[in-house]
């Protein structure tokens, strides 16, 4: 595309009052742009002006106005055009300082005008470097959905996906469909007044799926491996329990490969096809729904409850089986224990959520329905009955023979033909001593991913989901913001493998997962990112001739988008990519970039900042700001009229993971006095939208500190700060503190070179 530029400076929203507009247009002129000004560029008159210029051939609009986070539609001039935003409102006009003893109005005006001019320069530079993105399109795209697991979640996902017209293959290890739900005698109520237990619906669900012509059911089958990428997954099936050469290979890292090559270690993938190999007999799928479910948790670790050595102590799943098999005869009293902590803590059994509370209520009802004189005791620390299930709880409570109390169960001892349960801290005001025929423990639902790969990917980063330990075995990517997502694009989990949940929630969950799978395929078809940068048409482009096979990008990609060949040259899978740019930040050769976001572009923007080399007061500090949380946080700070330090120049980045360390060097060599990265919180409770970006950036900054000290620069000149989106009242203080440290260090010795 031949670019025709139009540069615009909006003077509305207080910009015209806070900044010297002539100074801004002069800055544009320096870079060869005649800037047009308008008092309300986003209004109808402003838009008319832009449209008129578009008709005159302008296709690259450089809009110096408000934050890029707002007015996106107003300044979207169409698919074949580019719009670049310079933020002179939130980052100059609105965050202007108030006069004080230290700074007069005149000085503040001067500093703020310099800020505004720098943002205009940066925007124009960006406009010059940016290219129109061409979406990445697959040659052939599969629109079939693979559903793994034939329980309630898998059956529902298959049914719902098929209803929307998509072809589905449902794989189940067992010989029959139904999963754990086959064992339930009755189900929780689903209809008002939520009082009566309902007959199982699993039979009807199975029949519906089996009768659906769009669904292919494969029982006694499992997935050997899934290779490829969304829109083009290559899936190999095998009979359950068998071994084949197409089984998913274990991850072999750089160090392991080294040892294998030296003969110090056995190759774990001996006899298996390489992960990049494609099975010609495999089937193609567009997206995968993982609904492989859960297993009942082992409760023998809680010794005081006697599960291991007392046959009168069973789990809720075992009790359900007793009911199903009609083995309640002679059982007149049962204690349902919900929390194993005794006097130490009040936590429920692990992996329970609200499910076990409701199961205990249901099972108490079984007992009462079987025997009118039976007594069911429910000893809980928490009764969790969310939503309409509160009505269920109320209904069960009405039963004369169901007795509930909060209690710390201190022990279960065998006595006579049954057990004696002892409990403290009860609502009855006294310690309890209950003689019962049977004790039922509320064992939780552990995701199968806690024990096995389950998904069996043939990816360079290994067959399993990553960081499972961080989430107790659940395959989360970002629980708070993106609950359906896994760390593998195009793979969506639902049901018990994702969270301990009851059946009605599972049905909602599976329906949601089916829709996510469809969304993934349709986005892939249009060549845009599915999540979280939905609709982004860019993707990372590799200039392979200069690749040194260092493997940093393949190792660091948080989503396993990059495979590699024998030599270690990356094999990109753009449809797996989430466009965070972590690979771009990792690459020491700077050969990875996006059409609208690359090393050269940001580097040039940094160099566009005017650094006075003879004024000790006018230091310049670069701030690279994550656009997911830190950027909105700064915008909100400006909206609240918090002043931002006028020595700092902010540049938004897709993720701190995309920050290439060459930008820091660019800033330092341009004579800037410091650089700060503002990104999401990282660690176990990370808030990074791309999971690892801010953590990786912090590591890289540690490494660059060595380089700086070799150059004779203080390592304190570069720093990373973690900003949450809610830090808008403190963020300017955090920045001021860093700036003060730089002021204390004095101007950079590189200034003027």
């Amino acid at each position: 595309m031949d670019k025709n530029y139009g540069t615009y400076i909006c003077t509305g929203c207080g910009i015209g009052e806070a900044l010297d507009v002539e100074n801004l247009t002069a800055a544009a002129k320096e870079l060869g742009m005649e800037a047009k000004t308008h008092e309300a560029l986003c209004g109808p008159a402003g838009r008319e002006m832009l449209e008129a210029d578009k008709n005159d051939g302008v296709n690259t609009f450089i809009v110096c106005a408000c934050s890029r986070r707002v007015m996106q539609n107003e300044f979207n001039m169409g698919d074949e055009t580019i719009t670049v935003r310079g933020n002179i409102r939130e980052q100059a006009a609105w965050c202007k300082e108030q006069p004080s003893d230290a700074k007069t109005q005149e000085t503040i005006d001067e500093y703020t005008n310099e800020m505004g001019a720098d943002y205009v320069r940066m925007a124009i530079t960006q406009g010059k470097k940016i290219e129109l993105p061409e979406p990445y399109l697959l040659e052939t795209l599969s629109r079939k959905i693979l559903v793994m697991g034939g329980g309630v979640a898998g059956l529902t996902a298959a049914k719902e996906a098929a209803k929307t017209g998509y072809e589905v293959t449902l794989v189940e290890r067992a010989g029959v469909l139904g999963g754990n739900a086959l064992g339930w005698t009755k189900q929780f109520p689903t209809r008002a007044p939520y009082a009566e237990l309902e007959e199982p619906t699993i039979g009807a669900l199975i029949a519906e799926v089996e009768a659906d012509s769009k669904i292919t059911v494969k029982t006694s089958t499992e997935v050997a491996r899934i290779g490829g990428a969304p829109g083009n997954f290559g899936v190999t099936f095998k009979a359950f329990g068998t071994k084949t050469e197409w089984d998913a290979p274990a991850k072999v890292g750089v160090d392991e490969q080294d040892k294998i090559d030296k003969g110090q270690m056995e190759d774990p993938n001996d006899g298996l096809q390489k992960y990049t190999a494609e099975n010609p007999d495999g089937e193609k799928y567009g997206a995968v729904i993982l609904a492989t479910g859960w297993v009942p948790a082992d409760v023998s670790e809680f010794e005081h409850l006697g599960y291991a050595d007392n046959d009168k102590v069973v789990t809720n799943v075992e009790f359900e089986a007793m009911v199903k098999d009609g083995k309640l005869a002679g059982i007149n009293s049962v204690a349902f224990i919900q929390s194993p902590g005794g006097e130490e803590h009040d936590m429920d059994f692990p992996y329970t959520n609200s499910v076990t509370s409701m199961v205990a209520l249901k099972q108490a009802k079984y007992l009462r329905e079987a025997n009118a004189d039976a007594k069911a005791y429910i000893l809980y620390q928490h009764m969790r009955t969310p939503g309409n299930m509160e009505m269920f709880y109320k209904g069960i409570q009405q039963d004369d023979g169901i007795f509930l109390t909060k209690a710390a169960v201190t022990g279960v001892a065998a006595s006579g033909n049954g057990c004696t349960v002892t409990a403290k801290d009860t609502l009855l005001g006294e310690d309890l001593d209950l003689d019962v025929d049977l004790v039922v423990l509320a064992a939780g639902m552990e995701p199968v991913t806690k024990y096995e790969n389950s998904i069996n990917l043939a990816y360079r980063q290994g067959p399993a989901f990553l960081d499972l330990d961080l989430f107790d075995g659940y395959s989360d990517s970002h629980f708070i913001c993106f609950p359906y997502e896994t760390r593998r694009t195009g793979v969506y989990t639902c049901g018990g493998v994702r969270k301990a949940m009851p059946m009605d929630e599972t049905i909602d969950d599976a329906t949601g997962a089916a829709l996510k799978a469809i969304q993934a395929m349709e986005c892939t078809d249009r060549g845009v990112a599915v999540h979280p940068r939905s609709g982004d048409r860019t993707y990372p482009d590799f200039y392979m001739q200069r690749c040194t096979q260092c493997k940093r990008c393949t190792e660091e990609c948080p989503f396993g988008a990059l495979d590699d060949d024998e030599k270690g040259t990356p094999l990109p899978n753009p449809t797996r990519c989430r466009r965070c740019g972590t690979c771009m930040g990792a690459c020491p050769e700077r050969i990875i970039g996006f059409a609208d976001y690359n090393v050269d572009m940001i580097g040039s923007m940094i160099k566009a900042v005017e650094v006075p080399d003879d004024d000790e007061d006018k230091l310049r500090i670069l701030a690279l700001v994550c656009e997911n949380d830190a950027m909105p946080c700064l915008d909100m700070a400006a909206m609240r009229k918090h002043s931002l330090n006028s020595l700092v120049r902010f540049i938004p980045v897709r993720c701190l993971g995309s920050v290439n360390m060459s930008w820091i060097k660019d800033a330092m060599s341009a004579g800037m006095d410091g650089a700060i990265l503002l990104g999401c919180k990282y660690g176990d409770d990370y808030q990074c939208h791309f999971v690892k970006g801010s953590e990786i950036a912090a590591k890289r900054m540690d490494n660059i500190a060595d380089t700086l000290s070799q150059l004779g620069l203080e390592t304190e000149r570069c720093a990373v700060r973690q900003i949450a989106i809610t830090d808008y009242d403190t963020v300017s203080g955090i920045i001021d503190e860093f700036v003060q440290e730089i002021i204390d260090l004095g101007p950079s010795p590189f200034k003027g070179f």
Binding site: D373, K375, D400, L404, K406, L427, L428, L432, D433
Partner: protein, 395 residues
């Protein structure tokens, strides 16, 4: 504590007005809003879970079930629609039956199924006594205006004790004696149970005088001035009914005692004092005012209860209505007999007087087993409340 819930007890409470007891989820809003509950010894939250768990013995030895005046604040504020006030009422009803002696009589009175027998028994006793006395005939209007009901059971010329008085005493004194004994027995069993339950050990025993002076009399004073009733929030208007009713009973107690003294003691020496009192006699005026106050008081309670049943879903119980009907019967038959006498219709007057005797006998005889029993059990529960905090008790 070994716990074994009593399912029959739960079923009983549910049938006796406590049908909502299982709705409680132990938030303790009731104990907070209850105007009578104290910070140190709150209720009725704990009574609710004891009731849910069918812990009969704990409830029967709990003074708080009697300290409750069923104001209804707890029921009004309960977020779950459990009605602690009604549940405690059901528990009290059970307690009166439980502590009642002889238990056969207590059980008979507690159930609506036995209503024919409950009314028939006293009716038969009075009828038989009337027959035995030989006075069973309708007097002339003239005779009635001269003797009033003084010759109801006939007449003899033994000056020391009138035949009528002798027969009334024969009926009422044993009944009253049984009631007093049953109440004493019930209260002392309850007292022992409370002592055990709350682990109260007496350091040195108060004398009867000390007991009355320090525990019983302060409790009675509180009852007479309705201290606790007046604290009620939601249903404070019940005081409008209960206070006149209670004062009427006290007044009639005085009137009866005065009348007995004047007619049956002074009358021995001054025969002119026999026969109906003049309507202008201040004591007679008090009696008439008391009768009207009684009808008014019980009428207010009647309409309050009807309204509560219609508007708040309070369940109608035999236990509550029996006492209302019974007191209304005593008042209406008494006043009716008097009017019958004054207008000179002997048949009506005698018939109503017969019914009046039956209803008064029922009131006395059944006092320890019906809701009327609250006048002893609640008084002693209040005394216990004071006693367990006193110097006589080891802390």
């Amino acid at each position: 504590m070994k716990v074994n819930p009593d399912l029959d007890f739960i079923r009983y409470m549910k049938s006796a007005g406590g049908d909502t007891l299982k709705k409680c989820y132990q938030c303790a809003t009731c104990s907070v809003v209850c105007p009578l509950s104290t910070d140190d010894k709150p209720f009725p939250r704990k009574e609710m879970i004891w009731a849910q768990w069918g812990l009969k013995d704990k409830l029967l030895a709990d003074p708080d079930i009697f300290l409750c005046h069923q104001c209804g604040d707890c029921s009004a504020y309960c977020p779950r629609g459990a009605k602690p006030g009604d549940v405690l009422g059901a528990i009290r009803a059970y307690a009166y039956t439980h502590y009642g002696f002889p238990s056969g009589l207590a059980k008979m009175v507690s159930s609506s199924k036995n209503l024919p027998l409950t009314i028939g028994l006293p009716a038969l006793i009075v009828l038989v006594m009337w027959f035995i006395s030989g006075g069973m005939r309708i007097p002339t209007a003239e005779a009635m205006s001269q003797y009033g009901f003084g010759h109801f059971f006939g007449h003899w010329d033994w000056r020391w004790l009138a035949k009528n008085v002798a027969f009334i005493d024969l009926i009422m004194v044993p009944a009253f004696g049984l009631a007093v004994y049953a109440a004493y027995r019930g209260v002392s069993t309850m007292w022992k149970a409370m002592m055990t339950q709350y682990n109260v050990s007496t350091v040195y025993r108060p004398s009867v005088n000390q007991f009355i002076e320090q525990f019983l009399w302060p409790s009675i004073k509180e009852i007479i001035v309705h201290t606790r009733f007046n604290k009620c929030g939601v249903n404070v208007n019940r005081v409008i009914g209960h206070l006149p009713l209670m004062l009427a009973f006290i007044a009639l107690l005085f009137v009866t005692a005065y009348s007995a003294f004047v007619q049956d003691v002074l009358g021995i020496f001054y025969p002119s004092l026999h026969g109906p009192m003049s309507m202008m006699n201040p004591v007679k005026m008090l009696a008439n005012v008391a009768a009207i106050a009684m009808i008014f008081g019980v009428g207010v309670l009647w309409s309050n209860r009807s309204a509560a049943e219609a508007e708040e879903g309070t369940s109608a119980t035999y236990y509550d209505w029996f006492l209302i009907y019974e007191i209304m019967a005593v008042a209406v038959t008494g006043l009716g007999a008097e009017l019958g006498r004054l207008v000179g219709v002997p048949v009506l007057a005698y018939f109503l007087y017969y019914l009046h005797l039956v209803s008064v006998l029922m009131l006395f005889l059944y006092m320890p087993y019906t809701k009327f029993a609250h006048l002893v059990y609640r008084t002693f529960a209040m005394a216990f409340e004071k006693y367990r905090e006193s110097e006589f008790v080891g802390k």
